[in-house]
């Protein structure tokens, strides 16, 4: 048998050993859309209506539209969008019924929340103390600006808060209060102490069995009937606590799911290394559980943001109700589409940023994988 000689890899010149170059995105798209006759025909069939649709949207949105705030008369004859309704009424959408002359406070307060949220998303901020300081300061500033009553700011009660400003507050407060609560509930449910385990499990299952709507209604309407006056507190406070409990119940189960994916060996190894029970939980198990639960957590945040709009059922002017109030008056009534598109964009930007941030976190934790 004659031996077949194959060149040893190390003897092949370097440039010949490179993998074939990946085709550029453009050429891939080109092949996929125009690679053969059937593909070309298919592309043409779909491209024409899509092009028409895009043209129609552009035409309606920009070319034939009216932009100026005082142009109601123009809107009546224009075929395109009437963005005047946004120009004239955007302050209702952003700030709801907040007193007109004090709306700068509402704007500033929203900005504080956005900045704090952004800061706490940065890895530099990821120590318990920094996150706590950030959010306590952020909420203190928000409440001070919104509620007033000190430093010469007029007092504005919570029933006048509204718009995007209220939506941001309800969302951030429920997640910031709800997240630690979720971790507590999760630890409780995994506890070896029978009473604590059953109580946590019972609370989680109870909260998940009740619709959010009913929880909000209970917090806003039933609580004052059942509680003595001194314990009632503010309606918005009760509603935000209701939201936070609801969020915590779902998030607790998401983290518990993550914990179940972390192998027992991790905690055992930690114990061998001399870490205590809590150290092992917070430094070894929980970070891995969060990594595993990240996609579900991001979804839960997106859901929480969108569900803030249910608050309208207990009479608060969240951004959606404010939008309805913005077009629902006199001459603006025909232009509800424009208002909903505007609000839709705000929702989209927020939730899309959330999911992009989630993707970034996944990439990051993947590289730092244990």
């Amino acid at each position: 048998m004659s031996a077949t000689f194959v060149a040893h890899p190390s003897t092949v010149p370097v440039q010949e050993r490179r993998p074939p170059e990946a085709p550029s995105a453009l050429s891939v798209i080109g092949t996929e859309l125009f690679g053969s006759w059937p593909r070309i025909i298919g592309t043409a069939i779909f491209a024409v209506p899509i092009a028409y649709l895009v043209w129609w949207v552009l035409d309606w949105t920009f070319l034939e539209s009216v932009w100026r705030a005082d142009d109601v008369e123009q809107c009546k004859v224009a075929v395109g969008a009437c963005w005047s309704v946004i120009a004239a009424r955007f302050r209702i959408i952003l700030f709801g019924l907040y007193p007109y002359d004090d709306q700068w406070r509402s704007a500033l307060a929203s900005l504080v929340i956005v900045v704090v949220a952004f800061l706490s998303c940065l890895p530099a901020c990821w120590t318990a103390r920094r996150v706590i300081v950030c959010w306590v300061a952020g909420f203190a500033a928000y409440l001070l600006l919104m509620y007033g009553g000190v430093f010469g700011l007029a007092k504005v009660t919570t029933d006048r808060w509204g718009g995007l400003s209220l939506t941001l507050f309800v969302f951030s407060a429920q997640t910031v209060i709800g997240m630690p609560l979720a971790i507590l509930l999760m630890i409780g449910r995994r506890s070896h102490i029978f009473v604590i385990a059953k109580l946590s499990a019972g609370l989680i299952d109870l909260l998940r069995a009740i619709p959010l709507l009913a929880i909000l209604f209970t917090a806003a309407v039933v609580a004052p009937l059942a509680l003595p006056e001194m314990l009632q507190g503010d309606k918005l406070t009760r509603v935000v606590i209701g939201y936070a409990l609801f969020f915590a119940a779902y998030q607790a189960e998401i983290i518990r799911g993550g914990m179940q994916g972390v192998s027992e060996g991790q905690a055992e190894a930690a114990r061998v290394l001399g870490l205590g029970k809590w150290q092992s939980l917070f430094y070894i198990s929980l970070p891995q559980a969060f990594h595993k639960a990240l996609p579900a957590t991001v979804s839960q945040f997106a859901i929480a943001f969108k569900e803030t709009s249910i608050i309208t059922i207990v009479g608060f002017f969240d951004i959606l109700a404010s939008g309805q109030a913005a077009y629902g008056a006199g001459e603006w009534y025909p232009y509800f589409k424009e208002v909903y598109i505007f609000i839709g964009m705000i929702y989209f930007i927020t939730v899309f940023s959330l999911s992009r941030y989630g993707a970034y976190l996944e990439r990051r934790t993947k590289n730092a994988r244990i």
Binding site: A88, R89, R91, I92, F95, G96, L97, Y98, P99, Y100, D159, L213, A214, F217, A220, V221, V222, P224, L225, A226, P228, E229, K235, T312, I313, V314, G315, F316, F317, A321, S322, Q324, A325, A326, G328, A329, G330, E331, Y333, P334, F336
Partner: protein, 349 residues
């Protein structure tokens, strides 16, 4: 205006049963002495809407409430305090309104609320006399050149499926021997969208709702509401049961605003009318001679203040629903008796 159906209705009913069962501090403290509590608080608490409900409650460019129901809340505040600065509007959803009244979140409900037997007898509420009648009417395209429902013979009508409106409309056409085909849809948005897209000749709903729907279409002036009335829904103010004095005050506020209209007293000429009253009733109404205040626990000039700052009931209509508003809804049945409507004031003696 038929709200509180479905899930929300169920929740409301459940909560009210709960409210009636538990002897709550807020509700019982307020019972019997609502006016005293309002004066002590320095504020009247009145419901707004969670969004807008034109032309009854809507928000202007600066975020202030306006609308017919809001104006009656203003009138009540002016009657009590002499100024509408003491009015606090609490935004409420439909489902919330009755529980919120019971829990003391509001002092009165003036919020597009129909007077029905179940609400009156089962929810622990007392109703004022109606302040507005909402006729269920038919809207058609002007181009059809129809002047009343008979002209719809052989035509079609868009209605929401399985609602009381559907049954009422069917009965109405059957009773009048008019042959109209009902085209039904599941959701009310679909119904009006179908009408405006030309799927049927006519659309049925409460007249103010129709007028507002027409305004939201692309050609607001192409539609007209026929004079035929399919059914009437009286809107009234609701209060917690057991405070007759408070209910009396609200009734006399509505009545005094009507009396002023019948006498031709408006916000413009009220000063003149008070300075030189042409008869004893006007003198008493406007507080030129004493008597009208003490009977309801207010000062003698309370009606004068209401007319001066808010207007008589005709002015309130015109400003919010009629020619002074973008909706231009003909007043029709809501006119005073002397002008062909169903309303009249009580006797001031």
């Amino acid at each position: 205006m038929r709200h509180g159906s479905g899930l929300f209705g169920l929740i409301t009913a459940g909560l009210l049963a709960l409210a009636a069962g538990s002897c709550s501090t807020a509700a019982s403290a307020a019972g019997g002495d609502t006016l005293k509590a309002i004066k002590a608080r320095g504020e009247l608490l009145c419901p707004g809407h969670n969004g807008s409900y034109p032309p009854f409650a809507e928000v202007d460019d600066k975020g202030n409430w306006k609308g017919q129901d809001i104006d009656f809340c203003r009138a009540l505040t002016v009657a009590i305090f002499g100024s509408d600065k003491n009015l606090k509007i609490v935004p409420l959803s439909w489902a919330q309104r009755f529980p919120s009244l019971q829990s003391g979140d509001v002092d009165v409900i003036i919020k597009g609320t129909g007077l029905t037997m179940s609400r009156n007898t089962e929810l622990g509420l007392s109703f004022s006399t109606p302040y507005f009648v909402s006729p269920t009417s038919i809207m058609v395209r002007k181009s059809l050149n129809i002047i009343d429902a008979k002209g719809l013979d052989g035509g079609t009508l868009c209605v929401p499926a399985g609602t009381s409106t559907e049954a009422l409309a069917a009965n109405f056409f059957k009773g009048h021997n008019i042959n109209v085909k009902l085209v039904t849809f599941e959701k009310s948005e679909e119904v009006s969208a179908a009408f405006f897209a030309g799927r049927c000749d006519s659309l049925v709903d409460a007249a103010p709702v129709l007028a507002v729907a027409a305004r939201s279409s692309s050609h607001p002036n192409d539609y007209t509401i026929l004079p035929d009335v399919i059914t009437l829904e009286p809107l009234a103010a609701a209060v917690r049961r057991g405070d007759d004095d408070w209910l009396n005050l609200i009734n006399w506020m509505f009545s005094s605003m009507r009396l002023a209209e019948d006498y031709g007293i408006t916000s413009k000429n009220v000063d003149e009318a008070k300075a030189k009253p042409t008869d004893a009733t006007i003198a008493k109404l406007l507080g030129a001679t004493p008597g009208i205040g003490a009977r309801v626990g207010l000062s003698d000039d309370w009606v004068y203040n209401v007319i001066k700052q808010v207007g008589n009931i005709g002015e309130v209509y015109d400003h919010n629903l009629g020619d002074g508003s973008p909706y231009k809804i003909p007043r029709g049945i809501n006119r005073e008796w002397k002008d062909g409507g169903v309303f009249f004031p009580w006797i001031l003696d």
